[in-house]
Amino acid sequence: MNTLVIAEMALDQPASASLEHLAVARSLAGEGRVIVLLLGAQIAAAESLIARGADKVIVGTPSAFDGYNSDAWTACAASVANEHAVALVLAAHTPRGADLAPRLAFRLNGACATGCVGVEQQDGALHFTRASHGGNVRETLRFKTECVVATVRAGIYDALPVDAKRQGEIVTLSPAPASRVRVIERKRESGVGVRLEDAKVIIAGGRGLNGPEGFDVLATLAETLGGVVGASRVPCDLGWCSHAMQIGLTGKTVTPELYIAVGISGASHHLAGCGNAKTMVAINTDKDAAIFRDAKFGVVGDYAKVVPALTAAIRALPTTS
């Protein structure tokens, strides 16, 4: 079976999620080929994808593909999928992947599964496991079509180790196909340090912060731990913080070593994006808050007192060797 991975970039490197999906594609492809479509990136990134399991990388360099354009990218992906007769397309479950995947599925007369946490082969058929009902239900689907396009959540699979000896083909694409969509302006938030998606430590705040100032308290703790600040949806909707900080079903999927949920009740919609954190800590005034069911360590108390105390205590810890 030939498979296609739609890779994304994180700054100037392929995103870690894309490397994970490449490993899945490699294991499912069997004797078949793993094709990667990498748009808006340089050739060097394509080479690194071969070392991680790709057989062929089709690159659209920034001169032709200077940013995401749903219409042009869908057209590109469809022609690559058709040309290589792929049976499975994997994309990241990000705003791009979730925009592209369903359109591509219909374009290919295939089917689509979004937000997958598992893609497996059983009795010769592909099975897609995903959450529904705000993360409260897990369903496994199979499709009757010849091609399936799936978005896969980050942090579920391990990437393959780098194998510098792997051989593969690199092809460049140019120009970009015509698009019915015109990109007028991009408003990027100035990238401050590590992306949430790659962070090892995340301090996330919710409605319980009771206002935007609460995020300053979290930022001090994050600084102490070398972590990044995230949020539940409520403070984003209330304008206390940027929506780019939203974690959850319709926000980012994060997989840190340590996740400290502060003033977050623990709705399934939120946990859909952080439930795979290695260690979760919850700080909440309500001892019955659902978040404690997912936390390894819990503190019942007012964050405004507990978080500064925790920050000071961490600073006072002896350094480890």
């Binding site: 359109r103 219909f106 529904s132 897990r138 369903e139 689907l141 340590l258 007012d302 500064p308």
Partner: protein, 267 residues
């Protein structure tokens, strides 16, 4: 201008999940009988977006369109009470138990039957299945551009401009009409139906169409036409035991938590 908003009537997604039961045998999620149903939240926000467009463009007509059981008429009534002008109900046993594909096929057929539609609005995803496929499907089937995850929408003569949500900011994109736009929660809170609109809503027309009214063959829609086969359905299990940090004061809680995290080699 004619806007059509696709809305789905679903069990309240914010209800405690203890209000649902999972039938692993039948592979179905069943809401408790008393659980209230609502217009899926992003779809309600799509209605709100349409109403805001009409405020800026007098003479705009807003149709709400739903596919579901007869009870989905309540979703249309809610849309009409918010201010939409008319409703279309697709309720027919032949359309039941479909998947994203058959839903997109059926809604697209209804949109064709409605005639000259300038813009189709959907939610970014329905809050029961959490899939986010149908809007894109309609765009592909009707050969319209699709602009997803809208935070705001503006129409200028024949074009639509959408500010869409990205993971590191937003972007403004533009396409010619007709187009499909999927709406995200960043668009803001939907208005509550006013008393006046609710009274008026009772007189607004709702038409009901079956698969054959839409010229659809029963084999291609509903359960028969579905491309997805559900193999399994279950509730994810949780095994985590929370260790509560006991201490007399918040300061001591902070110290104790730091110690425990160190002992657990997290720090």
């Amino acid at each position: 201008m004619h806007l059509v908003v696709c809305i789905k009537y679903i069990p309240d997604p914010e209800a405690a999940f203890s209000m649902f039961s999972i039938d692993e045998q039948a592979k179905k999620v069943t809401p408790a009988s008393g659980l209230k149903h609502v217009v899926s939240p992003f779809d309600e926000q799509a209605i709100e977006a349409a109403l805001r467009i009409r405020e800026a463009h007098v003479g705009t007509r807003i149709t709400v369109l739903t596919l579901g059981k007869e009870s989905s008429r309540n979703a249309l009534k809610h849309g009409l009470a918010m201010g939409a002008d008319d409703g279309v109900l697709l309720a027919d046993a032949a359309l039941d138990d479909g998947d994203a594909y058959t839903t997109a096929v059926s809604l697209s057929a209804a949109l064709k039957k409605l005639g000259a539609v300038d813009m189709v609005l959907t939610g970014r995803q329905a809050a029961d299945g959490d899939a986010g496929i149908v809007g894109a499907g309609i765009g592909e089937l009707l050969n319209m551009p699709v602009l997803t995850f809208a935070k705001s929408i503006a129409i200028n003569s024949n074009t639509v401009r959408v500010e869409r949500v990205l993971d590191d900011g937003t972007e403004i994109v533009e396409a010619d009409l007709p187009a499909v736009v999927t709406v995200s929660n960043e668009i803001g809170a939907p208005r509550a139906p006013s008393l006046r609109e609710t009274m008026r809503a009772a007189r607004k027309p709702i038409v009901s169409w079956t698969a054959s009214d839409l010229g659809l063959n029963a084999e291609n829609v509903g359960a028969a036409g579905s491309r997805a086969v559900r193999e399994r359905l279950l509730a994810p299990s949780k095994v985590i035991q929370c260790e509560f940090i006991d201490a007399a004061t918040p300061e001591q809680q902070g110290v104790r938590l730091a110690q425990r995290l160190r002992e657990a080699k997290v720090l």
